[in-house]
């Protein structure tokens, strides 16, 4: 069983992004970049399935600029066997990425694609669902537990108000939620080994995919700021303020 894992290079989750003064976007010059945390969970899950003898090969894919190679190498250091970079300097939006992944799925024929549920930069939460739609495959989003066997996946999903257990036919797309697993730290020997693993580069045109963006960002602005209020001395003063000033209780 082959598992494909798409990984995205994003601004590291510890970085507090700043909106550019001209309102054209956020400033990502000289900012630390990392693998999207939800994708890291996806890689970890795929590698665990391989270690458990369920999967035979884990292929990491990234779509974006040449530097996305680093993200693929990071996936390999966790345990992915090989990588594919779809290199493009274009603004790749979720639909375009889903189409690129579809082209790769047609070629690679994976049994399962495990994606992060959303990227922490554009917060779209779309690519996995879109890929499943384009492939005509079932999907299990927001997974907190995955069991694969014999052409069937049983996935526990996080839904509003609790959990749902879904059974679906393979091939399928699974997207990861936070509590699926805790990704390992890549060890130095594994980071060294990752440098020697095969990494293929293709272009969107090679895959016959039009990646032209459908959405244009007109403006990026700071969110409205909330200013700090007052400190209250004790419970009595707090209750008084809530009752008589804010009038919320």
């Amino acid at each position: 069983m082959k598992i494909l894992v798409p990984v995205k290079r994003v601004v590291d989750y510890n970085v507090k992004v700043r909106v550019k003064a001209d309102g054209t976007g956020v400033d990502i010059a000289n900012v630390k970049m990392s693998m999207n945390p939800f994708d890291e969970i996806a890689v970890e899950e795929a590698v665990r399935l391989k270690e458990a003898g369920v999967a035979t090969e884990v292929v990491a894919v990234s779509c974006g600029v040449a530097a996305c190679q680093e993200t693929i190498r990071a996936a390999m250091a966790i345990g992915a066997d090989r990588g594919i970079l779809v290199e493009s300097d274009a603004d790749l939006q979720p639909l375009a990425v889903a189409k690129l992944l579809k082209a790769l799925c047609d070629k690679e024929q994976p049994t399962v694609v495990i994606c992060g549920k959303q990227a922490i930069d554009d917060d779209s939460n779309q690519t996995g669902q879109m890929l499943a739609a384009l492939m005509g495959w079932p999907q299990a989003t927001f997974a907190s537990k995955v069991a694969l066997s014999d052409g069937v996946a049983n996935v526990t999903r996080e839904i509003d108000g609790g959990l749902e257990t879904l059974e679906m036919k393979l091939p399928a797309v699974i997207t990861t939620d936070l509590r699926l697993n805790e990704p390992r730290y890549a060890t130095l020997p594994n980071i060294m080994k990752a440098k020697k693993k095969p990494l293929e580069t293709v272009k969107p045109a090679d895959l016959g995919v039009d990646v032209a963006p459908r959405l244009t960002t007109l403006k990026v602005a700071e969110p409205p700021k909330r200013s700090a209020g007052v400190r209250v001395a004790d419970v009595a003063q707090l209750v008084d303020k809530l009752k008589n000033e804010a009038k919320v209780i």
Partner: protein, 310 residues
């Protein structure tokens, strides 16, 4: 111009998130239709027909829509998409599951989590966990969007829309829901509560969380929430989580107890009308967004507060 809203419901009744989505649809300026896909979902359809601003309710009632799987619902929406310029769903677990699938099948982009409608093709949405707001314009013929429910008022009552049946699409048979474990609670739903009492790592353990926060929530008629740290530490189940990766809430009153205020938590609650922070660390970032901050030992302050408001 007509707009289709995909209803969120449990067959018997509509979920509150649908009401906010209808308000967002009304801002687009067109006839608003609501699609109710379910099994024995007449109750939900009737409620939708009574909402102000709804022109038509379209009901697909079939056994294979019972659990509203993304595959079957998306196929149904696409089969009925002709004539609609916009297709909206609430930005809930369900909406986020279905909407991108609909968009991909229609070969259009999906616009996630809109918080404002600038015009029929231009919308505002948060990016980077709400640290920036992007204004985006769509060039697609159909705009498929999810709506951040806290950013729009709930639609009122007083409508009398026509209810019409639509033919069910074929059952794709790709997935089946084996079970749902829903947290049972007599308290209000987190997403719709007027008051939320939320706890963090400062509570120390699960026992303290329940022992301290439940009496306060009961005294206020509030829903209970938690920070990601508290959920990860196992104090409460994941559906209590407030934050960018959990629930986005905007109650009248949000009481943060023992929550330091990590950016991802603030992203989920900073639109609350009034925020109260109770924390022993005066430097905790939560105080920077709190209207009323109380520096103190929560083990003394919380029971005292519960008593004072009870």
């Amino acid at each position: 111009m007509a707009i289709l809203v995909i209803a969120e419901h449990d067959n018997a009744s509509l979920k509150a998130a649908t009401l906010n989505t209808i308000s967002a649809a009304a801002k687009l300026g067109g006839e608003v239709h609501v699609l109710v896909a379910g099994a024995n979902c007449g109750g939900a359809a009737e409620q939708a027909a009574k909402l102000a601003g709804v022109a038509k309710v379209r009901v697909a009632d079939a056994a294979h829509y019972e659990s509203q799987t993304a595959e079957n619902v998306a196929a149904l929406v696409v089969a009925n998409a002709a004539g609609y310029t916009h297709i909206l769903a609430p930005s809930t677990a369900n909406g986020k599951n279905v909407a991108p699938r609909v968009a991909a099948l229609l070969d259009v982009a999906q616009i996630s989590d809109i918080v404002a409608v600038e015009s029929a093709d231009t919308f505002v949405r948060p990016i980077y966990a709400g640290n920036a707001m992007a204004t985006v314009k769509s060039s697609d013929a159909v705009k498929v969007m999810t709506v951040r429910t806290t950013a729009f008022e709930a639609a009122g009552q007083g409508g009398s829309a026509a209810v019409e049946a639509v033919a069910a699409a074929a059952d794709l048979g790709l997935t089946s829901v084996k079970g749902r474990e829903l947290t049972k609670s007599a308290r209000p739903e987190l997403g719709a509560a007027k008051i939320i009492v939320s706890g963090g790592r400062g509570l120390g353990n699960s026992e303290n969380y329940h022992k301290l926060l439940e009496p306060l929530a009961d005294a206020l008629g509030a829903a209970l929430g938690a920070s990601r740290a508290a959920v990860d530490a196992g104090y409460v189940p994941n559906d209590y989580q407030v934050g960018q990766t959990g629930k986005i809430v905007a109650p009248q009153l949000y009481i943060a107890v023992g929550i330091s205020g990590a950016i991802q938590h603030l992203a989920g609650m900073k639109d609350s009308k009034v925020i109260v922070a109770i924390n022993k660390d005066p430097e905790a970032p939560i105080f920077q967004v709190a209207d009323y901050g109380l520096v103190g030992d929560l083990f003394e302050v919380v029971p005292e507060l519960a008593k004072a408001v009870g």
